[in-house]
Amino acid sequence: MELTSEPVLSLAGIGKRFGAVEALADASLEVYAGEVVAIVGDNGAGKSTLIKVIAGVNPADRGEIFWQGRPVSITRPHDATALGIATVYQDLALCDNIDVVGNLFLGHEMTRAGVLDEIAMERRATELLATLSVKIPSVRVPVAALSGGQRQSVAIARSLLGEPKVVLLDEPTAALGVAQTAQVLDLIERLRDRGLGVVLISHNLADVKAVADRVVVLRLGRNAGDFDMATATQEQIVQAITGASDNAVSRRQARAGRADMATTAGTEAGQ
């Protein structure tokens, strides 16, 4: 996938404070069309806070946000949606008692003379799920009848109805089985192939390795590394996450006599 020279979304110098805690100090992020950027970091590194800043749930205290090169302000969820940023939260937020079509269009139902246009919505839903190759038994079953992977797929498909340019996914594979994870990772690749910028938050480095083009590491609210997935090694990323060449992972390797402290220390600050 060819990258355009200008990022769709870029954030610089983002700061966010919750009382005494500085959740984000000086974070930055660039997202290009047609790439998957993974944000990784330890618990409390500021990943979710950064996502919430972009989604407009918790606006930033400081810093600048650029959308297609032009400065914008995102102060509420509506601002983000209006720009073309869709967010899929970890807890999915689907209504179990409503069918797949109803959930896809919840809050944005199509109407015809004031009455729900079920036919147009069902048609659009079938189309969308088919282009994403999402397999579900029927678009008219209640969401309660779907598996975890199918529910995640429905939640992601739902975010695409607004024709966004950037999709934020918060831990999309957490709590999924092996086959279901593969299903969701396939879907993420299809989003990228459609030219969307995908921001993926994940704890699972295997998933990140599988789909991400670029990895941004956050540590204590600051950027701690930006790696090209094609060249980065797992040790480099782990060191950036833990912030030290001397960490539990490297100590294990040192005991095995394979660690090379001298070369890895230099990459700690990022590229």
Partner: protein, 421 residues
């Protein structure tokens, strides 16, 4: 989605729509397959209205064998009039139950608003039509107040409406002072509501219009679905629905016509049930009620105003309670201190639940108010015919209510084991 490939994707979609998962049972084509499909749904806990319909048949058979006046047209006519008031209140209760909340004030609100109607029209000579509108608006305002205290301040609906139960009854007693009972003139508009029947021909016409409208709507929907290659309702299932609807509507009108004609009050009640069902299933507002009842967080993130939905549903519940109160008052020609009191609230809640609306929120329909009221009304009417003591009547009604909730809980379990919850 790139725009250049839109026509290709449309073709793909049609292909995908045809390629069904082979593990899925196909749509029913013959009456036998239709029966099998219905049985599968029941096994999976999608009971729908079946328990109530079976219950009604059992009640009819039992009471008819004990007293052959039970299924007489006179008794059925009286039964139809007897259920309209509590049925209207139960319709409001259904809306509140869909949110997963409860409204304990409905009985008191029905009594208080009808007392207000009596005070205005009888004591102060307000024109009856204006009085009716004012009583209904008062109901809406009272409900909106409950809703605001619940949704804005966060007091549990149970407590807010329990306060309403006591408080509005107090206002009712105060309004009715000093006599305690106010009678409506026998020939006034208020009394006429429950004591006027449609002309027999008009009754048949209404039945015909209902059936024709249903058939037309279904055929139109079918044509639109086929035009865009979406799966349409199988012909056998459509035919079965039309036959059942025709039998129910013409059967009911036939029975009522055989005695005295269709009461206007019954038409009002059925129109409320059908109207609110259409609002629930066919409008964005109705969808938002199901969403709030299913998952509040999802509803909020979808941009639905949860507070707005809650306040409006409580307002509707009390509005329907006011309508129920007017129907009660009209049937009794009077409003007294006990109007809206005793077991009216409990029977309305019981009717909604017996009819199949879940106490757990998000599942149900206004038809459960109609069916549940029919079940309770039939039991009451049968027991009165047998001149059973009220002690026995209470116990039997309680047993039916508990049985209905047991069925609700069991069907929830069935849905879980079939992966539908």
């Amino acid at each position: 989605m790139s725009t250049s490939t839109t026509s290709d994707t449309a073709a793909e979609v049609r292909a995908a729509a045809i390629q069904r998962d082979p593990r899925l049972a196909g749509p029913p084509r013959t009456p036998g397959e239709l029966a099998q499909a219905i049985w599968r749904r029941i096994r999976a806990g999608e009971l729908g209205s079946w328990p109530v319909i079976i219950g009604l048949v059992v009640i009819a058979v039992v009471f008819q064998s004990l007293n052959d006046r039970f299924l007489s047209t006179e008794n059925l006519y009286n039964l139809s009039l007897q259920i309209v008031a509590s049925g209207a209140i139960a319709t409001g209760i259904v809306l509140v139950l869909l949110l997963g909340e409860i409204d304990l004030s409905s009985g008191s609100v029905s009594g208080m608003t009808s007392a207000m109607l009596a005070v205005m029209t009888v004591r102060h000579d307000v024109p009856p039509a204006l009085g009716l509108v004012a009583a209904i608006v008062l109901g809406a305002a009272v409900g909106a107040l409950h809703g605001l205290i619940f949704a804005r301040i966060g007091v549990p609906s149970f407590v807010v409406t329990l306060g309403g139960l006591l408080g509005w009854q107090g206002l009712q007693l105060w309004l009715l002072k000093p006599q305690g009972t106010i009678n409506f003139p026998y020939d006034g508009l208020v009394a006429k509501i429950a004591h006027t029947n449609l002309d027999r021909v008009a009754g048949w016409l209404v039945a015909a219009v209902v059936v024709v409208a249903y058939v037309l709507a279904e055929l139109l929907e079918r044509r639109r679905r086929q035009a865009v290659a979406l799966p349409a309702r199988p012909v056998v299932s459509l035919a079965a629905r039309v036959v059942v609807l025709t039998a129910c509507v013409f059967g009911a009108v036939g029975i009522l016509n055989a005695y005295a004609g269709v009461p206007i009050a019954v038409v009002i009640f059925v129109a409320l049930v059908v109207g609110f069902d259409l609002i629930l299933r066919k409008t964005r507002y109705g969808r938002s009620i199901f969403a709030v009842g299913g998952n509040i967080e999802a509803a909020r993130r979808a941009g639905i105003s949860v507070t707005g939905v809650r306040v409006s549903v409580f307002a509707l519940s009390s509005t329907l309670a006011a309508v129920g109160g007017i129907l009660f008052a009209s049937r009794a020609y009077s409003v007294g201190q006990s109007s809206g009191g005793s077991d009216i609230l409990l029977l309305a809640i019981a009717a909604a639940v017996i009819g199949g609306t879940s106490l757990f929120g998000g599942r149900g329909s206004t038809y459960s108010a109609l069916l549940g009221s029919l079940v309770l009304g039939a039991i009451q009417s049968g027991m009165l015919l047998l001149s059973l003591d009220s002690s026995v009547r209470f116990m039997i009604t309680a047993a039916v209510l508990v049985a209905a909730v047991v069925l609700d809980s069991l069907s929830r379990r069935g849905r879980r084991s079939s992966g539908r919850e």
